[in-house]
Symmetry: C2
């Protein structure tokens, strides 16, 4: 098929007519499909049902160091959970705090603590005239929501397949003391599925921020969430890189088991330097007596060790891979060569990022919704919900059953064609 920009006005008019009819056919199907969030599907959840058998009334709920996990205490988490998540995060268990069920909550609390108490003796951010964060875009809406909630000014930094544009990052953090952080999803990024190159991570580790309380918020949400057995992205471990670069305190690294066991009922963790940990624990001991140790024990015993977790992730991959393949295949079949959209082909994570012609994303998402398919809101991948190009759309293939996913993607590609054709036609 001809690329749309090579079509004559008459050809485009005819294309629009055909597409509109097909769109009406979709509307008649009365679809109710949701592709808006990166939620695991039922089959993925079923993979962890064995975890419900790990502890029963005959179990010994004493952890390795003799602590009764049923009682109060152990602020930073039980040792076996630290070892397991340490192996998962490629960090020393001594550099880890195990939290409750949500790494998002840990990130929120980290920003909140910096607002009220500052970082390692620095002025609390709430006492500063201006606090700014760098936001690689497109990125994760819930990150941006935290900084927006605290009135932190967000500055867009373009993403590349190697990670954020480091020329810009280096320049901005070096010259502006009010820049206090940057949101990163370094591996299988949300939404593009890009993994930061070794060079990018090294440049992060070597940053020379003007602000001594600048921190990298390194959300390694998809560290072991590969899709293919024969291709695993690998990124340099950031804590080690920072330490080698003489910047040991530069990074907070977050992770969780949310997309490994049960989202919302897993365990979250933060890895950082001893200095940062001590700073954090001053607050943590006021905030809580400790997190859910029984659930820490349940997770530790369910996996046994990191190898158990890796084998478990193979099962997730087997469920997710056909879905990502279907998405790519339908995008290629329906849009390939038309010059009206580009999309990523990630090796892991939860998303495919789609870029339409400028000025089309909102309309695409809106028309999908009117035909019963809910996509992530256009603009959601940018701070303040504002995509300057109005072109990025996040596709989340994980949740719908594959037949529904295919239907949704057929509608999506149809709508992309319709909106693009109309736009090109209107500009003629």
């Amino acid at each position: 098929m001809k690329a749309y920009h090579e079509m004559t006005k008459e050809e485009l008019a005819e294309e629009i007519k055909v597409l509109r009819d097909k769109y009406h056919d979709f509307q008649a199907l009365d679809l109710h499909l949701d592709m808006s969030r990166g939620k695991p599907c039922k089959e993925q959840l079923d993979l962890s049902m064995g975890m419900m058998d790990i502890l029963n009334s005959d179990s010994d709920l004493i952890c390795d160091d003799g602590t009764d996990c049923r009682n109060y205490g152990v602020l930073s988490g039980i040792e076996e959970a630290k070892v397991l998540l340490g192996d998962m995060m490629e960090n020393n268990p001594d550099n880890i705090i195990i939290y409750g069920n949500s790494s998002l909550n840990v990130m929120f609390d980290t920003v909140s603590r910096a607002m009220t108490h500052g970082i390692m003796g620095n002025t609390p951010w709430c006492q500063l005239d201006k606090v700014k964060f760098l936001c690689p875009v497109p990125g994760y809406d819930r990150h941006f929501a935290i900084t927006e909630y605290f009135g932190i000014e967000m500055i867009n930094v373009p993403m590349t397949p190697e990670g954020p544009d480091m020329d810009i990052v280096e320049k901005l953090v070096a010259e502006d003391e009010s820049i206090k952080g940057i949101w990163c999803v370094p591996k299988y990024s949300n939404p593009q599925g890009y993994s930061y190159s070794t060079n990018t991570v090294r440049r992060f580790a070597k940053l020379k921020p003007a602000a001594s309380d600048f921190r990298i918020f390194w959300d390694n949400a998809y560290g072991i969430h590969h899709l293919y057995p024969d291709h695993h992205d690998h990124i340099l471990e950031i804590l080690a890189a920072c330490k080698r670069a003489g910047n040991p305190d530069l990074v907070y690294k977050f992770s969780s088991t949310s997309k490994i066991t049960f989202p919302g009922s897993g365990i979250a963790a933060l890895a950082t330097s001893r200095n940062n940990l001590e700073d954090i624990e001053k607050q943590l001991k006021i905030q809580t007596i400790g997190h859910d140790k029984v659930n820490q024990l349940r997770h530790s015993r369910f996996f046994g060790d990191i190898h158990g977790m890796v084998l478990h992730m193979h099962k997730h991959a087997a469920i997710l891979r056909p879905k990502f393949q279907a998405v790519d295949q339908i995008l290629e079949e329906q849009l390939g060569g038309l010059g009206i959209g580009e999309w990523t082909k990630p090796y892991g994570g939860y998303f495919v990022s789609f870029d339409s012609l400028p000025g089309c994303a909102k309309e695409i998402v809106s028309l999908c919704k009117k035909a019963g398919v809910v996509m992530t809101k256009a603009g959601a991948t940018f701070p303040y919900g504002k995509d300057p190009q109005d072109s990025n759309i996040r596709i989340a293939p994980s949740y719908p059953p594959i037949d529904e996913l295919k239907t949704a993607m057929r509608l999506f590609t149809l709508v992309v064609r319709l909106v693009s054709a109309r736009k090109l036609y209107s500009e003629m």
Copy 2:
């Protein structure tokens, strides 16, 4: 035996000699007993082991409204958990948010949110010159630690067996706009075990604070934690009282299952008005996608309903009652009539409050520790750890096995006598 203040100098000298010898005998026992915290004992934890069987790999983890509890979502908690904790807290499920494992964390977050964002449109506390809290004393050290952490000035208000001195509370909140809150443990208070009278609760509900963002922090930690089958303290429900008094938004009420199932692995809840809930949810939806619904489901199904929980609490009472009775009996046997100490006789909760002669508490706790019995730190029951009288000591009978508890109490009473006798002798 003669009261100490009626003894001659010679009699006191002889008493001190005898007591010192006995103290040395205790030291020779090489004790290692801990009575410092209100932790349930092993037998109490065993009561909830059945909870570990409630969910297994054959279980349906779908809650009543059809939500799969294994996946993301449901910000304010699943309905059946709201109903259960609503019945426990005597509140409408619609007025409740179910949180994670720690009500202390909920209180911390509530203060933190008021600091950074203010309450219902009022100025964030961090932007005010001065923020003050009223602290009924003696009280709970972890409450005081939160307000101290946020730089909130704490003002002592004396406790009475009816609750805080309401003449003082009414006067202070009416005249000082910088007073933004008061910490309350209204039932079986920590450490005295007092329950607020109906009149006290009514006066709380009718408060006319100068600050529109003044809130009562009502930590109903021991709402169903009775010790005796035939005597249950009852307190007026504060949300309903506030609503009737035309002050619907005046109170945040906190509770959890920490001392019902497993401390640290239970579920916490906050009950408050719809206005306050909406204010809170604006933050909560940024902070997390939701709390641990699997654990909410586990708790709901384990108890079935509030009657199941009440029956469960009878079993706790049967374990705790003999311990509280032993404490009272040994205090009475060893100190009765000596005029050197007073203590409370609670009908529920986790503590007995002991008041020594002024100026003796620190020395008593120190000598206990030197003989191997760790008590709650003297002063801990007051803001900033400063007991102006140096006389209050919190006794926590729950954790030690009863034989150890008796040994610890014999040492404690011996030390009270020794320190008191020395003090009286030195003042002669």
